[in-house]
Structure formats: C-alpha cells, structure tokens
C-alpha cells in the first residue's frame, strides 16, 4: 500500500465535524510516515546557530523526551516544530521538519495552520488572564471553528479538562478566571487548552520546572494517559522524569560553549538510560555535567 502524503486541505474538513476531543491523525498504516520527522534541521538566532544538524523520527502515540544541558537548543528545536521560533526577529531555520510527511517550512505553508496542528505547553503556565477557565480551554478550538454550538462547546470543554485531569477540581467554577488557579492547575489548564484544539502533536517545554513536586506528579500521571492518544514531545531537565514518562529519549549537547547543540543520541528510553551508546550521554545522565 502506498501512502499518499496528506495535505492540509484533506485534514481540515475531517475534523471540523468531530464534536469531542480526538487527536487528528491519519488512519494508522504499518508503513505510515512518522507524525514528526526532522531532517538535518538547524535553527539560528541572528546567524548564530543554536541547534544544528538534527535528524530524527518521532513515532506516533508515544512520549519523546528531549534532554540535555541548558542552552543546547532544546527549546529552540521545540519552538521550530510549530514555527514559533520565527516570531523572534532574525531567527532562521534550515533543513526539514515534516508533520505526517508534509514539510512544515514548505512554500505556501501558512504557519497559522501548522500551529493549529501542533499544540504547545510552555515552561510557565500562561492561561489568558482575562478569560474564564472554560473560555481558556475553548480558546484554541474557537479559533478553528466558525461556530461551536453550546452543547458541543460544553462537551469539548469537559472532555479536554478530563483529559488534562483537571475536571474534578474546576467543574464548579468554570466561569471563574483561569488566573485564580494554583500553578499546577494553571499548567493543566494550559494542557487542556492545547488538547481542546485537537492537535496532532503536543509539545511541552519543561512543563513542570516551575511546579512543586505534587503538581509535577499530577502532570506526570497525565502523561501516561496522554500517550494513548497523542504524540508528545517533552523537554525536561529532570532525568528521573524523562526515565519515568518517556518512551524515547533524545540527548542533545553542544561540543563547546557558543557551539550549536547537536543530537548526540536518540533511542528507547530504557536503552538510553541503561546502556547509553555515547560517553557524553552516560556522563550527563550520571550528573557529571550539565
């Protein structure tokens, strides 16, 4: 069976009818192109590469952890996937990133459409402060659909909040501002917001680094359920966390200060943590640098 590359036009109408949260995913086929493929990808700030020569495939319905010392370009790489990187003046990219076989940086590709297909959760929770919890959850979904009936909106909000493990805590105060929640709840609200937009992939940039251990645990538990439906890429500084929650681990590092970060090793998480193929990986995991 030959796999036709899906175009954006094919993807859009498919999902517009679906009332509840379901990740947009082409029908699984054994030879399917991975949801995310990077080929010799580099990203620079004002001509200075932050991360260079990255080639990797990320399989569907799994959690992939990006680990590595600070400044090796993990965030930059993540922000390149949904074309957020280019919103910084003089930021440039080279190489390819494909979403289900389609070049994200291809000619004529609207970054707005790319961002609707890729959800993102940031290091610091950023709910819209003037909006209620419910409107926060529905913000992305409302951008994509002309009209969302009242019941459809309520269902979508509930299922997204359930998927983000937040429903029970906020179901009685959906009309209250999202900024009134605790840090951990705000972060899960942001995850719910990303889910409600029905992305193909969810990117998370150190989503727990600003949270206390209990909130962190809540989000780690969430990852285990998210993995069933979504393709998740998470940047983390926490080795234990990467080991606990991820299926694959990609280790990035720069050879020297002011050098771009590079992909050193990419494998199953168990392999990376038990038998790393590179000395640098072993040293980093053992806490000898970084």
């Amino acid at each position: 069976m030959t796999q036709q590359p899906l175009t954006l036009e094919q993807l859009e109408p498919l999902e517009l009818q679906a009332p509840v949260v379901a990740p947009r995913r082409p029908s699984p086929a054994p030879t399917a192109t991975p949801p995310l493929r990077m080929t010799d990808f580099s990203a620079s700030y004002a001509g200075r590469p932050a991360v260079a020569g990255v080639t990797l495939d990320i399989p569907a319905q799994s959690v992939t952890a990006f680990i590595g010392p600070s400044g090796c370009g993990k965030s930059t790489l993540l922000r390149s996937i949904n074309r957020l990187h280019e919103t910084i003046p003089q930021a440039t990219t080279a190489g390819r990133i494909e979403l289900h076989g389609e070049d994200v940086y291809g000619p004529g590709v609207d970054p707005v459409v790319v961002r609707q297909r890729v959800g993102m959760v940031f290091q610091r929770a950023n709910p819209f402060p003037a909006m209620s919890i419910r409107d926060n959850v529905l913000a992305g979904a409302k951008l994509r659909r002309q009209r969302l009936s009242k019941t459809a909106a309520a269902e979508l909000a509930e299922s997204a909040l359930r998927a983000a493990n937040l429903w029970d805590e906020v179901k009685d105060r959906l009309r209250q501002p999202g900024a009134g929640l605790s840090g951990g709840q705000q972060q899960r609200l942001c995850i719910a917001r990303a889910i409600a937009a029905q992305p193909e992939i969810i990117l998370m940039d150190e989503p727990c680094s600003a949270l206390d251990p209990i909130s962190t645990l809540a989000i780690e538990e969430l990852m285990a359920t998210l993995r069933r439906d979504y393709t998740v890429v998470i940047v983390t500084h926490n080795m234990q966390q990467a080991a606990r929650i991820s299926d694959q681990t990609a280790f990035f590092s720069a050879s020297a200060l002011r050098q771009p970060g590079r992909l050193i090793e990419y494998d199953d998480t168990t392999t990376v943590f038990s038998h790393p193929g590179e000395q640098a990986t072993a040293d980093y995991i053992a806490g000898r640098f970084g």
């Binding site: 609707q116 951008l143 937009a197």
Partner: protein, 405 residues
C-alpha cells in the same frame, strides 16, 4: 480541594506597612522604636521636626501603635548611618515633602478661588450676567451640555482610532519602524492647540463643509444629521473632529505603552494556538491593555473638556443653544470657549459668573479624572507561585506570525 492545594506553602504575609513608612529615615518612626524600648541614635532629630505638613503626612505612622493593621516600623535591622548620609536623607525628605505639599496647596487655592469668587454669581439676575442671561443656570447648562457633547463626540471618534493606531504600532509594524511612528505620535500630542484651531478654521472646516450636505442626505433620517447643513462647516461636529485629532495622539501614546507591556507568555499562548495576528491581538493584547486604553481615553476626555482655543476658533456658537444636531449652523458653545470669548468684555458680576462656570468645568474634569482612576486601577489578577504570565521577551515584532485566513 486537591492535595496540590493543601500542600502549597502558605503565601508570605503581605507587608502591612504603608508606603509612607517604607523609607528608612528619621522622625516618628524613631519615636516608635523608642516606645518599644529600643534606643536609636536619631531620637534627637524627631524633636526638630516642626513642619506642619510633614506631621500631617506622617499621621498614619503616629497612629501606628493604636492601629495594628497599619503596621509597625521594623525594630530590627541596621541603624541608619550617622553623618552626611543622614543629612542628605533629611534634606531630601523635606524637599520632596515640600514639593508634594506645594501642589496640594496650589490645588486648594484654585478650588477656593473658584468657590469664593464664583459664589456671588449664583444669585445674579437679569442684566448682571453675560450674554443677556436672566439667571446663572440658564447660562450654565447649555454651555455644560456643549462641553460634554463635544468632548463625548470627540472621544467616540478618537478612542477607536487611537486604539487602532496603538495596536498597529505595537503589534503590526516591523520593529525598526516603531520608534518613527511613536515619535510622530508623541510630536502630534505636543502641538499647541492654537495651531489645531488655525488649521481647523482655515483648512478643515471648509473641507468638511463640502461633506456635510452629503452626510445630511445620506443620514438625515437620524436626528443627529437632520436639519440644514452649515455652509461654513464651523459646527459642533467640526469642533469635535478637531478635538478628536488633538486627543488621538494622547490616547494612542498611552495605549501603545500599555500594549507594549503585554506579557510574552500571553502572546505566545495565542500564537501557539494558531491565532492570526488579529486573533492574537484579541486574545492577548487587547484584554491586557483594556484598562490602559480606558485610562488614556479619560486623559483625552479631560483634555477635550478643558480645550479652549481650538474650539473657540473653530466653532460658530449660538447663545443658549442646546441641540443634538451636528451639522446645522446653530451650535451650542462650550464652557471654556465661552469663558475665553466673554472674559475680555466682562465686568462686575459677569466676571463672577465666568468664574462660577470655571468651577463647573473644574468639577467636570475632576469627575472624569476620578472615573479614570477607578477604571485604571492596577489589574487584580493574582499571580501564583509557578503560575503567572511569563517573562517578557522583547521580541515578536515584524516577524511572521502568519498570513492569516
């Protein structure tokens, strides 16, 4: 309540000290230290302090022991250094207190002047008032109406335009062009009103006079545009338009500064959700800057209410006229323009009545200012540890946020 909530460490207690107690200086604070059985090297200084205003300003601290909610001066910590540092501290404190007191005194003196000199006019009768008025209120209320009407129209026209200009400057314009447009707007805000008056009278009014018959034909079914359009164009609408031109840069400048402070976290949240540029403005920039835009608008409204020269030059008023019609050659006058036009010829009680009109204007602007304060209060969004809006990244301009749909 979740485990997460319960285990969250309690927030540090809010600092109960009033701002006036935040300076580590001399004076009554030293006395408190002494009351609490602590000797401080600066006790002698407090007896020197005889300035009345200073005492008023430190009343709050003097009441400290009786009102625990006001807090106490901290009794631990390093003692202030003696010598030159102390002298500078005291001098600076007196200078700034004097400056603060001065402005309060000036304001009080203006208010007193208006009240004392304006009062007699309230009882004035026919023959004693300007413009042949029979009693003060029949003179005052059409003018007050004119001021409010012209300013409200100006605000209605200016606020949306200024918001659009600010949004364009901050959110659409490539970063390198931003200073250019900002400077141009700031310059416009500094143009003296007499210049706007000249321009309005000689250029703008004749121009719009050609437009008014058309407006009258198209929208004449609305009471505002009914009647016979003025041939000179010197109508209340023209005056309001000139006022709008004057206050647009003020509102735009305030709105621009507020919009530029939108947290990057909010903007990126919107952009990452797939918002277009306009949707990002709607989701992140405009909600954030709402109160700032309102505050800027109130500032502009205040300016429009008090504007004298431009209105006096542009508007062709009719005494005692009250009408909502915008295009006719009979128009209400404004308080400030009337005062300026009438004052050179005024004598006796007429002067008092003009001062009383000034009092009305004073009260109007005061109300507008109080309203502005109310709406412009700092936003009350609580920032929780670990939550919050994210750091600022001075970026996201002139970059490709997407072409939109």
């Amino acid at each position: 309540m979740t485990a997460e909530d319960r285990r969250r460490p309690p927030a540090p207690p809010a600092d109960p000290r009033p701002i006036s107690a935040l300076g580590r200086g001399d004076g009554p604070e030293g006395e408190h230290g002494a009351e609490a059985g602590q000797s401080r090297p600066d006790q002698g200084l407090s007896s020197e302090r005889t300035l009345g205003l200073e005492q008023v300003l430190s009343l709050e601290q003097a009441l400290g022991p009786e009102l625990p909610s006001l807090g106490r001066w901290p009794q631990t910590g390093p003692s202030p250094a003696p010598g030159a540092g102390r002298w500078a501290e005291t001098t600076a404190r007196r200078l700034v207190t004097g400056a603060g007191g001065l402005i309060v005194a000036v304001l009080a003196s203006v208010a007193l002047f208006l009240l004392a000199q304006g009062w007699p006019a309230l009882g004035a009768g026919a023959g004693q008032l300007p413009a042949g008025a029979t009693d003060f209120w029949s003179l005052a209320w059409p003018l007050a109406f004119g001021s409010i009407w012209a300013s409200a129209l100006a605000l209605l026209l200016a606020a949306p335009l200024a918001t659009a200009i600010a949004l364009f400057t901050v959110h659409y314009l490539p970063r390198r062009w931003r200073p250019l447009l900002s400077t141009a707007i700031d310059l416009l805000a500094a143009v003296p009103s007499v210049i706007y008056g000249l321009w309005g009278l000689m250029v703008f009014a004749p121009l719009v006079a050609h437009l008014y018959p058309w407006l009258n034909a198209q929208l004449g079914w609305l009471p505002f545009f009914a009647g016979r359009p003025s041939a000179t164009g010197r109508t209340i609408l023209t005056a309001a338009l000139v006022l709008a031109v004057m206050i647009v840069p003020i509102i735009a400048a305030v709105a621009r500064e507020v919009m530029a402070q939108t947290p990057v976290g909010s903007i990126e949240a919107a952009v990452a959700l797939g918002a277009t540029r306009w949707e990002t403005a709607r989701l992140a920039v405009l909600p954030w800057s709402r109160s700032g835009i309102v505050a800027g608008s109130m500032l502009g409204l205040g300016r429009a209410l008090g504007e004298t020269m431009a209105v006096a030059m542009v508007l062709s008023p009719t005494p005692f006229w009250v009408s909502l019609r915008l295009l006719e050659s009979t128009n209400p006058n404004t308080v400030s323009a009337f005062i300026a036009q009438t004052f050179p010829e005024a004598h006796g009680l007429q002067v008092n009545s003009l001062i009383a009109l000034g009092l009305i204007l004073f009260a109007l602007t005061f109300v507008v200012n109080a309203l502005a304060r109310r709406v412009a209060r700092p936003r009350t969004v609580r920032e929780r540890p670990g939550g919050g809006l994210g750091r600022r990244r001075p970026a996201l301009a002139g970059a490709s946020l997407g072409s939109g749909r």
